[in-house]
């Protein structure tokens, strides 16, 4: 381990694996000290390339991640992996089983794998996933793979976090109507059709290609646009003639046989190069920074407002009960508190 100044941030930056792992836990558990450490690490971040992998449960995200790790390691790159699995809404517990598919890298010191539970968050990631990615960035990882929980159609949080989003499909999950639904399919920078040795693989590729063709005429810029309250806003239309236009390639893979994975990595690399030459990488990072900042601000302000409310009106459960019984007006309460906080 490199020399360090003894602080947690110093240790993490010097390569102390245990310090980094403990910091990730503290971030997951929202320990106040962790925020301070993240502040100290922040200037060292921004180098890592972040790749998101999302798609339906059972599509093979973990297996593809495993094969991609091998490819990046052969190139001499160090890799961080965050694998997210769902928290049970009944018990609050979770089975985090994605590591099983990445056994080949269990003893490789150039690979750091961290499993996280969603802990009630609904966007496909956990609330602390972005922070954990920041820690891996500060540790010096060249590439960070973020595997979302198995998603359906609406969990698009990973688009705000990753430079390149790979959406993993499998044959046989739906007809061509499914292919043109909004949500997850729209955030893809690269499509992987995994388990491509199964029947229906070519059909799935055709469905996706047809969706892209239909979209070409009405395409708008990727969903990185937000209004002043940070709500998603449709981007400006763009056409294939636009130098910045990117049509997601569709790559067939069979992860368990290591087939098509080099092509997938090539497609990711092509996207990365496109982001660099068009200047869109800097835009995406600004969008990510905006998302992170607004989230921080929201948490701080809400914490302050709830503390103030508790001091003046009783705890939140009592207030909620009064509102539900129509004995208190939520609109007036919120407006009045916000006005007082504005000062």
């Amino acid at each position: 381990m490199a020399p360090h100044d003894g602080t947690t941030a110093g240790r993490v930056a010097a390569g102390d694996l245990r310090a980094a792992a403990r910091l990730m836990r503290d971030l997951d558990d929202q320990a106040p000290s962790a925020r301070e450490t993240l502040r100290a690490l922040f200037p060292r971040t921004g180098r890592a390339y972040v790749i998101g992998l999302t798609g339906a449960p059972g599509a093979g995200k973990s297996s593809l991640t495993d094969r991609l790790i091998a490819g990046y390691r052969r190139q001499g790159k160090t890799v961080g992996v965050v694998a997210v699995d769902p928290t049970s809404p009944f018990s609050g517990g979770a089975i985090l089983g994605d590591r099983i598919r990445m056994q080949d890298h269990a003893l490789d010191e150039g690979v750091f794998i961290r499993s996280m539970a969603t802990r009630g968050n609904l966007g496909g990631l956990s609330r602390a996933t972005a922070d954990v990615v920041t820690v891996m960035d500060a540790m010096g990882k060249d590439v960070i793979l973020v595997e979302t929980v198995g998603v359906g159609q609406d969990e698009i949080e990973v688009a705000s976090l990753a430079h390149t989003v790979v959406v993993v499909s499998v044959p046989g999950l739906g007809d061509d109507v499914q292919a043109i639904k909004a949500g997850v399919l729209e955030i893809a920078d690269v499509f992987a059709v995994n388990k491509a040795d199964r029947e229906g693989a070519d059909r799935t590729v055709r469905d996706l290609a047809m969706m892209l063709e239909l979209r070409r005429s009405t395409a708008t810029r990727p969903p990185a646009d937000h209004d002043e309250l940070h709500r998603f806003q449709a981007g400006e239309p763009w056409s294939p003639e636009d130098a910045r236009f990117w049509e997601p390639p569709i790559v067939k893979t069979v992860a368990t046989r290591d087939e098509g994975v080099a092509d997938l990595a090539g497609a990711v690399e092509a996207h990365r190069a496109h982001l660099e030459t068009t200047g869109m990488r800097a835009e995406r990072e600004a969008g990510r920074a905006r998302a992170a900042f607004v989230s921080l601000l929201r948490d701080r302000l809400l914490a302050g407002a709830l503390a103030r409310l508790a001091g003046e009106q009783g705890n939140l459960d009592e207030i909620a009960a009064r509102i539900a019984a129509r004995q208190a007006d939520p609109y007036a309460l919120a407006e009045e508190l916000a006005a007082r906080l504005r000062g």
């Binding site: 990730m24 929202q30 000290s33 450490t37 517990g93 985090l96």
Partner: protein, 138 residues
């Protein structure tokens, strides 16, 4: 988050050559139902793989499921390696096909508890809640 609210993270592993994972999967599911985050690493784990995962995942405890009879080698191997890596605060427990007579020696070697065949999953959950504590935030 206050100390008592920190969700426990527990690694469940099957070390060695033993290929029967049904017990480990039942334990993993039970621990999830008990409110813990279970990092399940599956079959054929070496002590080195188990400890590497335990460190990366910052777990509070490691549960070893051993049906092969190799427990007298495997438990101390994991315990000693955790110690060598400075992770003395990780509780090691386990279960499987382990003769009652071997339990005292396993505890001497640093195993916190051994659950013999017939132990209920609730007993394991209750024991964890009583004996495994998340460390303080840094």
């Amino acid at each position: 988050m206050s100390q008592k609210e920190r969700t426990l993270r527990i690694l469940v592993a099957k070390p060695g050559l033993d290929g029967h994972d049904r017990g480990a999967k039942i334990i993993a599911r039970a621990l999830r139902d008990g409110g813990f985050e279970v990092i399940y690493t599956g079959l054929h784990q070496t002590p080195e793989m188990i400890v590497a995962a335990a460190l990366q995942e910052d777990v509070d405890a490691v549960g070893l499921s051993i049906m092969s009879g190799a427990h007298m080698t495997l438990f101390p191997a994991v315990i000693d390696l955790l110690k060598a890596k400075g992770a003395t605060d990780v509780t090691v427990f386990g279960g499987g096909i382990i003769p009652q007579d071997d339990v005292p020696r396993l505890k001497e070697l640093g195993t916190a508890e051994v659950f013999l065949p017939g132990s209920t999953t609730q007993a394991i959950i209750d024991w964890i809640r009583g004996h495994v504590h998340p460390r303080q935030a840094a």
